[in-house]
């Protein structure tokens, strides 16, 4: 049976992991490659690097990070942030990334998904959706890292990107993100049942129970979390044991 995935996410700025991390035995707590190795050993099912580098010139650093990671970690790697052209995608895939996650450029030009998926295959095109609740049962999408409302309904948008050839959706609830109060189960459930492509839920993970809930009630195919894993509030192994105990299929 297909296992539900647990995905740690690393925010990387100019080649350095943002937020201090205290893993034992690390030579350099800010080195994304070293942290990726730790997650690899811990049994993470995939890894996401989110490049939050502001300046365009320094984006090249990410290519180097991906190359070094791919030499040491033999696990699926997704890279998001700052991708705006087919050339960017090609370069990342060539460096060792398996998927790229794209948000703003897709909203501005939906054909970009079509072009990218027909060129590289749907399987490597993840569309990131940042959604914020506007009223009961309605969510609007945001671009530019959550700064700009795009005035589009999140569920409709998810259906559209699926049709355009997205292979997966990385769904972040802006209301839950950073709260540690749990994922937005309603939003995740709505989108996950609307589309026939996998959905990764993001935003709000604080406990094992939150993850269980989004994978069961929220029907997500994967759960992404950043700070609970970074700060070692919960270990990946602990999450998997908890899920298994509650009847969710996970990889040992």
């Amino acid at each position: 049976m297909l296992a539900k995935r647990i995905i740690p996410c690393l925010d990387v700025k100019e080649g350095r992991v943002v937020k201090g991390i205290n893993f034992e035995g690390l030579k350099d707590a800010g080195d994304p490659v070293e942290i990726a190795e730790v997650y690899d050993r811990a049994g993470a099912d995939e890894l996401v690097f989110l490049d939050i580098t502001a300046s365009h010139e320094k984006r090249k650093i990410m290519i180097d990070v991906v190359k070094k990671t791919a030499e040491k970690c033999f696990m699926p790697l997704t890279v998001g942030g700052g991708i705006s052209s087919l050339e960017d995608i090609r370069e990342l895939l060539k460096s060792g990334a398996d998927k790229v996650s794209i948000n703003t450029p897709v909203v501005k030009n939906p054909q970009f998904v079509k072009e990218a998926s027909s060129m590289f295959g749907s399987q490597c095109i993840v569309v990131a959706i940042d959604a914020k609740r506007v009223c009961e049962g309605k969510w609007q999408i945001y671009i530019n890292g959550g700064r700009t409302p795009a005035r589009r309904d999140a569920v409709e948008w998810a259906l559209e990107v699926e049709k355009l050839g997205a292979g997966e959706i990385l769904l972040t609830s802006m209301d839950s993100d950073g709260t540690k109060n749990g994922y937005d189960i309603e939003l995740t459930g709505k989108i996950s049942s609307a589309v026939r492509i996998p959905v990764i839920a993001s935003g709000g993970a604080g406990t094992c129970e939150h993850i269980l809930k989004v994978l069961t009630d929220g029907m997500a195919d994967a759960a992404l979390a950043a700070s609970i894993f970074h700060y070692r509030e919960i270990e990946i192994e602990e999450v998997k044991d908890y899920l298994k105990k509650h009847g969710v299929c996970v990889r040992n």
């Binding site: 049976m1 297909l2 296992a3 539900k4 995935r5 690899d40 099912d45 190359k67 791919a70 030499e71 033999f74 696990m75 699926p76 090609r90 895939l93 060539k94 460096s95 060792g96 990334a97 398996d98 060129m119 590289f120 295959g121 749907s122 399987q123 490597c124 292979g167 997966e168 026939r196 492509i197 996998p198 195919d221 994967a222 990889r251 040992n252």
Partner: protein, 209 residues
């Protein structure tokens, strides 16, 4: 040192396959030239993109014949994902004919399922899978990483090495003489995947001596 060649389509992530092979001491080259490929000890065909694009690409460069000849020479062959699909006669994904090394077709998952079938799923070994050298020391039920929308259905059931359950019980790898081809991505399957890669490198070294 025997050289392993990875067929280069100029697309997708070949780096992980290369690095995994190198980890076990293989000397690896990437190539799309028939003459160069012919001289190598083993051939790896990873696959990304669509079936028709792939076949057309191969035909344009005469690589379809190169693969077929390489395989019939008895040297080790490893196909991954689309590298498994092209060995069959044709695919529901397109109109082009496959290489036809194995009889059977490539089918699409039912529309009621989430497609692509993406993530970690387990392998169930067949009797021939248990004897397959490339799967040595990998335990029945082990999880591997999958990303695909189509799966192969061989006519000759004896080539099936493992099956996997995604609503349907599909063929997740085949093993026949010098050919091993899998639907999952060993280069992305952490420890279990690396074991498979190591077995392939060892098999290549043995085939040389």
């Amino acid at each position: 040192m025997s050289k392993i060649v990875i067929l280069d389509y100029g697309m997708g992530n070949l780096r992980s396959v290369q690095k995994a092979l190198e980890k076990y001491g293989a000397s690896v080259v990437l190539s799309s030239h028939p003459e160069e490929i012919k001289a190598m000890a083993a051939l790896v065909v990873p696959g990304v993109g669509s079936f028709d694009d792939c076949i057309r690409n191969l035909k344009r460069n005469n690589l379809d014949r190169t693969i077929t000849e390489f395989i019939s020479s008895g040297r080790p062959f490893l196909g991954i994902c689309l590298g498994l699909h092209i060995l069959f006669e044709g695919s529901e994904e397109g109109r082009e004919k496959g290489l036809g090394i194995f009889k059977g077709k490539v089918l699409r998952f039912s529309p009621i399922l989430k497609v692509p079938h993406m993530g970690w799923n387990s392998l169930e070994f067949t009797a021939s899978g248990k004897k397959c050298e490339i799967l040595k020391d990998i335990k029945d039920g082990e999880y591997f990483y999958f990303v695909h929308s189509y799966y192969v259905k061989p006519e000759d059931k004896s080539i099936i090495a493992t099956t996997t359950d995604y609503d349907v019980e599909f063929t997740s790898s085949v093993c026949s003489k010098n050919i091993f081809a899998c639907q999952f991505h060993p280069e992305k399957s952490q420890k279990a995947g690396l074991k498979l890669i190591e077995n392939f490198v060892k098999y290549t070294q043995k085939a040389r001596t």
